[in-house]
Symmetry: C2
Subunit: 128 residues, 2 copies
DNA sequence: ACTTGACCTGGAGTGCGCTCCAGGGTGAAT
DNA sequence: ATTCACCCTGGAGCGCACTCCAGGTCAAGT
């Protein structure tokens, strides 16, 4: 729960991009797709200003995306955030996703073991 | 190194699909993209007949794909198979890929930990 | 003889997740 | 006054990995 360096006025979209590791285009794309918890505030001239909370939410999006959750599933998750008392459903989605990730992880690890065996095989050929 | 159930005459494309877990269309697509080690033999009427070796190679393709290697990288790897004495290069590709997979795996595991924390958080909210 | 089902080819279509672009606004610095 | 960097929007474009389709061949069963 570290406080990220976001001043009270908020950061620009490029600042938020840098902090989240996403691109500016992706940030606007996610917003268009309804993945923002709340639309970021705008400056007097209409530019987005991301608060610390906004940036933390981007971290959640990255967490879900990088573990393979499709955009449309994330949208369903975000939509629940706007529903009072939907905590059990949100938790259920996360738990289902966790299962998914664990299965995927196990599969990749199995294939990784096969890669290692193949490398060992080559090592023996090349050296021995 | 289990011997898979492939008769000497070879199996049809649908058989190979079933054995490899890929779809018939994907098998033809991979072949078109130059991922087959050697084109499978054909029956008198021009149908593909996959030998046990062909099916094992499909296993290698699945291993590489499911660990995230792009088609074009796999093609470069396959191309080396047709070059005499390219074992060191093939090994290098596999080793580089392994590093890639390990990095990806670590990232996913980090995000998984964050998912677990979020779930725990909800658990406390819902129960406590 | 005919129906059925599995196979063939070349090529078009699809879904996803961005990524880029044109055309325009704003505000600070020179 | 103009240059510059950065921002805005709506919409087009792209790369990837399939997936589907039309139109046809062939072998086996009824």
């Amino acid at each position: 729960m570290t406080t990220i360096e976001v001043p009270a006025e908020g950061v620009t979209i490029s600042g938020a991009a840098e902090l989240s590791g996403l691109s500016v285009d992706t940030l606007r794309y996610y917003e268009k797709e309804g993945l923002s918890l709340r639309r970021p505030e705008r400056s007097a001239s209409g530019q987005r200003r991301y608060t610390e909370e906004d940036v933390r939410w981007l971290g959640t999006l990255v967490m879900l995306r990088r573990t393979g959750m499709p955009i449309r599933d994330i949208r369903r998750f975000v939509d629940l955030y706007r529903v009072e008392g939907s905590e059990p459903e949100r938790m259920a989605i996360l738990e289902a996703h966790r299962e998914h990730v664990l299965v995927e992880l196990a599969a990749v690890q199995t294939h990784l073991a096969a890669i290692n065996r193949k490398i060992d095989h080559y090592k023996k050929m090349v050296n021995g």
